[in-house]
C-alpha cells in the first residue's frame, strides 16, 4: 500500500492521483455542497427565523436518504480519516493534515460543533446563527479550493 504522510498535494504521484481526486470530489458533493445548500439560496435580507431554519436544514440534515438524514458532523466523520491518514483511500493512505485547505476544513467543522448542538436544543441566537453561517461557508470554500488544487495537480491538467 502506498502511504503519503504529511505531504503536499502536488507530490501525489499520477498513479494515485485519481483515487484522491475521486475522494475529495465526493467530499465536495456530500459536505461542501450541502453544508450550506439552503442558506446559499436565501436572499440577502432574509430574517433571522428563515436563516435559522435554513441553517438547521443544512447542518442537521446534510445528507438525506431513504434511511433518514445525517448531520454535517457525521458526514465529515466519514471523510476526515481519509484525509488524515486514518483510513485507506483507493488502496492508499493520505495524511494531508498540514495542507492549509484540509486544516481549514477541520477548523470549520470544529466551529460547527456548538452550532449543531445549539440547533438541536433550539437554543440559537443571532450570534450563533451568524457563527454557523460563517463556519459553514468556510468549510464549503475550503473543500472547493482543495478539489480545485487536487485537480490542478493531476495529469489531465497538463
Amino acid at each position: 500500500m502506498n502511504v503519503y504522510p504529511s505531504m503536499s498535494i502536488g507530490k501525489v504521484p499520477e498513479s494515485d492521483h485519481r483515487a484522491l481526486l475521486e475522494y475529495v470530489s465526493r467530499l465536495k458533493h456530500d459536505l461542501g455542497k450541502y453544508v450550506r445548500f439552503q442558506s446559499r439560496w436565501l436572499p440577502e435580507d432574509a430574517d433571522l427565523q428563515t436563516r435559522r431554519e435554513a441553517l438547521a436544514a443544512d447542518l442537521l440534515h446534510t445528507r438525506r436518504g431513504p434511511d433518514g438524514s445525517v448531520d454535517a458532523i457525521a458526514v465529515w466523520a466519514e471523510f476526515a480519516p481519509g484525509l488524515s491518514g486514518g483510513s485507506e483511500v483507493g488502496g492508499c493512505r493520505f495524511d494531508l493534515r498540514d495542507d492549509p485547505d484540509v486544516e481549514a476544513i477541520f477548523k470549520g467543522m470544529q466551529a460547527l460543533g456548538p452550532v449543531i448542538e445549539g440547533l438541536r436544543g433550539a437554543q440559537v441566537d443571532a450570534v450563533l446563527v451568524a457563527e454557523g453561517e460563517r463556519a459553514a461557508k468556510s468549510v464549503a470554500e475550503a473543500i472547493r479550493a482543495l478539489v480545485d488544487r487536487v485537480r490542478a495537480a493531476g495529469p489531465a491538467s497538463g
Binding site: R26, H29, G32, K33, Q38, R64, P66, A140, R144
Partner: protein, 532 residues
C-alpha cells in the same frame, strides 16, 4: 412561465426552486428514469427543461446499470453517477429536450457517460449553485428553446442543412434586401416566405403572395403595380397592385421566372427607386416592401440565355439565395413533417367530421388526436384518439423519393389517415378502437399510384466514389464505400449519432452501435467535426 421537470431522489431542489424561482411551474421530482419518462409522457411535450441531479440514493432495483453480484463499492459508484445514466436514456427518447445536469462539467469529466458535445445538455457554472445563477441559466435556456420552437415544424429539423437554412433566413429576413428562395417544386417555399421570412421581417404590413405562373402575361404589370381606369382594354376602374397592397409588409412572388421582360423592367425600377407608378397614371407612389421571390428554375442560366435581365438578377441579391433541399434529402425530419402535415390536415372540416363520425360509431369521447410515429401503440388515454404510424410505415415514408416533395408528402399523409379510418370502420371491433393504425401496406398502395422518379433522383444526393484498381479485394471496396457513406451521413446530421442511428436502423437508441462501427471504420470524429 416555463415548465420544468425535476429529476432528483430528494425534494430539496423542488422546494428551493418553488420558493426562490416561483415564476416557473415545476413537475416532479421524478425519483428515477421510469418516473421521469412517465412525467414527460404525461406532459405531452410541454416540458421546457429538465433539472437532473447526478447522485441518486435509490434502491438497487431502480438503479440503471445495476448488475447482480455488484460489490457495495460498485453500487455506490453507480448511485453517484446515476443521473448521467438517466441522461443517456432520456436522450434516446427526447434528443432535443434541454437538460441541466446539476453539477459542474469538471465534476463529471472522468465519467464515461458524459458526452460534452451534447447540444441540449447544460452543466452548472458552479457546483455551489444559488437561486440567481440557476434562475439566469433557466431563463436563457428556455428563451432559446422557445425561439427554436417558434421556427415551426416545417423548418425545424435535426439535419444540419435545415439548421443552416434557418440561420441564414433569420439574417436575410431583416432589412430591405430581397430574398431569393430556390429549390424543387413543393419544398415549402411559400410556407417559408409567409411563416418565416415575413414573421421575422419586423414589418407591420400584410403578406401578399402572387403566383406568377397563374397571371396572364399581359395582365402581369397591372397585377403587380396597379392601374387606373382605361389603362388597358377592359380596365373599368382604378386598381391597387400587389406592391401597394404589401406596403410595409412582404410581397412573395412565386415562379418569378415567369415574369415578362416588360414587367421585369418595372420591377427593377421599383427595387431601385422604392416607388411605383400605376399603369396609365403619372403619379408615383412610395412603397416599402420586403420582396421574396421563389423559383425552381436556374435564373443564372436564364440570364445567360437572355430571357431574364442581368441587372434585375443582380438586384435580387442572388448571393444570399437560400436553396431548400428536396424532401428525399430530409429523411431525418420525417416524423416532424408528418406531425406538421397532419396537424394542418386535421384542421380541415371534412377530416374532422370523418373522425367525429368514427368516434361516435366506436363510442369514443373527446376530440383530441395524437400522432404516434415509429413506436408501438401507447396506453389508452380517455378522450384521445391515436393515429399510429408503425416503424415499417415510417420506413416507407423515409425511403420514398417524394418527387412532389412536401406537397406530395402532405397529400399522402392526409390520404393515409382517410383510408386508415375507412379501414378501421370496415374492420369493426379491433383490439383498440382508440388507435387508428396506418399500415405499411396502405402507404405502399398510395405511393404505388404515384410515379416513381427514383432513377432520375439518384444523382441528387451525395455520391460515393469508387475507384477500380486491380487486385483490390471486394471487402476493401465495400469498406471504402461504407466509410464514405458514414462520413456523408455524419456531415448531413451535424455529427448526431442518434440521428444516424435513426436513419440507418430506425431507432435513435442504437447510437452507440453506429459510433462503434464508426470507430471500426477508422473514422475520426475530431477530424470530421472540423468539416461541420
Amino acid at each position: 412561465m416555463a415548465d420544468i421537470l425535476i429529476v432528483d431522489d430528494q425534494d430539496r431542489y423542488l422546494e428551493l426552486c418553488r420558493a426562490a424561482i416561483p415564476e416557473h411551474r415545476y413537475r416532479g421530482p421524478a425519483r428515477n428514469l421510469t418516473e421521469a419518462l412517465d412525467l414527460l409522457s404525461r406532459a405531452r411535450g410541454r416540458v421546457d427543461c429538465v433539472l437532473l441531479d447526478v447522485h441518486f440514493d435509490i434502491p438497487v432495483s431502480e438503479l440503471l446499470g445495476f448488475k447482480e453480484g455488484a460489490s457495495p463499492a460498485e453500487v455506490e459508484a453507480l448511485k453517484r453517477r446515476q443521473g448521467l445514466l438517466i441522461l443517456q436514456e432520456l436522450r434516446t427518447r427526447h434528443p432535443d429536450l434541454p437538460v441541466i445536469v446539476m453539477t459542474s462539467r469538471e465534476e463529471v469529466v472522468l465519467e464515461r457517460e458524459v458526452d460534452g458535445s451534447e447540444e441540449f445538455t447544460y452543466f452548472l457554472d458552479d457546483d455551489y449553485v444559488d437561486a440567481r445563477a440557476l434562475q439566469g441559466q433557466l431563463a436563457s435556456i428556455v428563451s432559446l428553446r422557445r425561439s427554436t420552437q417558434a421556427d415551426g415544424p416545417v423548418f425545424w429539423g435535426r439535419s444540419l442543412a435545415m439548421r443552416r437554412i434557418r440561420q441564414r433566413l433569420s439574417v436575410v429576413a431583416r432589412g430591405r434586401l430581397p430574398v431569393v428562395l430556390l429549390g424543387p417544386t413543393g419544398t415549402g417555399k411559400s410556407l417559408i416566405a409567409r411563416h418565416f421570412v415575413h414573421a421575422r421581417s419586423g414589418r407591420s404590413g400584410r403578406f401578399i403572395a402572387v403566383d406568377l405562373s397563374t397571371v396572364p402575361p399581359d395582365l402581369m404589370a397591372a397585377h403587380l403595380f396597379g392601374s387606373v381606369k382605361g389603362a388597358y382594354t377592359g380596365s373599368v376602374g382604378d386598381r391597387t397592385g400587389a406592391f401597394e397592397a404589401a406596403h410595409q409588409g412582404t410581397l412573395f412572388l412565386d415562379e418569378v421566372g415567369n415574369l415578362g421582360m416588360a414587367a421585369q423592367k418595372l420591377l427593377l425600377s421599383v427595387l431601385q427607386e422604392g416607388r411605383i407608378t400605376r399603369l396609365g397614371d403619372l403619379k408615383e407612389r412610395a412603397v416599402d416592401v420586403k420582396l421574396v421571390v421563389a423559383t425552381n428554375e436556374d435564373l443564372a442560366q436564364r440570364v445567360r440565355a437572355g430571357s431574364f435581365r442581368a441587372d434585375l438578377y443582380m438586384r435580387l441579391n442572388p448571393a444570399t439565395a437560400v436553396v431548400l433541399p428536396a424532401l428525399s434529402d430530409r429523411s431525418l425530419d420525417t416524423v416532424e413533417l408528418l406531425r406538421f402535415c397532419l396537424e394542418r390536415a386535421l384542421e380541415r372540416p371534412y377530416l374532422r367530421e370523418l373522425l367525429g363520425e368514427y368516434r361516435r360509431a366506436a363510442g369514443l369521447e373527446g376530440t383530441r388526436v395524437r400522432v404516434v410515429a415509429g413506436a408501438s401503440a401507447p396506453k389508452s388515454v380517455p378522450g384521445v384518439l391515436v393515429l399510429l404510424f408503425p416503424e415499417r410505415t415510417m420506413r416507407l415514408l423515409r425511403q420514398h423519393h417524394w418527387p412532389g416533395n412536401l406537397r406530395e408528402f402532405a397529400m399522402t399523409a392526409e390520404n393515409a389517415v382517410l383510408f386508415a379510418v375507412a379501414e378501421m370502420t370496415a374492420a369493426e371491433g379491433g383490439d383498440r378502437s382508440d388507435v387508428i393504425v396506418v399500415r405499411a401496406k396502405l402507404i405502399k398502395d398510395l405511393l404505388g399510384a404515384l410515379p416513381d422518379q427514383a432513377a432520375s433522383q439518384e444523382d441528387a444526393g451525395a455520391g460515393i466514389r469508387v475507384v477500380l484498381r486491380p487486385h483490390e479485394t471486394l471487402n476493401k471496396v465495400s469498406v471504402d464505400c461504407e466509410r464514405q457513406y458514414f462520413v456523408a451521413l455524419y456531415l448531413q446530421t451535424g455529427g448526431d449519432f442518434g440521428a444516424m442511428a435513426e436513419a440507418l436502423l430506425g431507432d435513435r437508441a442504437h447510437a452507440r452501435k453506429i459510433q462503434l462501427r464508426f470507430n471500426q471504420l477508422g473514422l475520426k470524429v475530431r477530424e470530421l467535426k472540423e468539416r461541420l
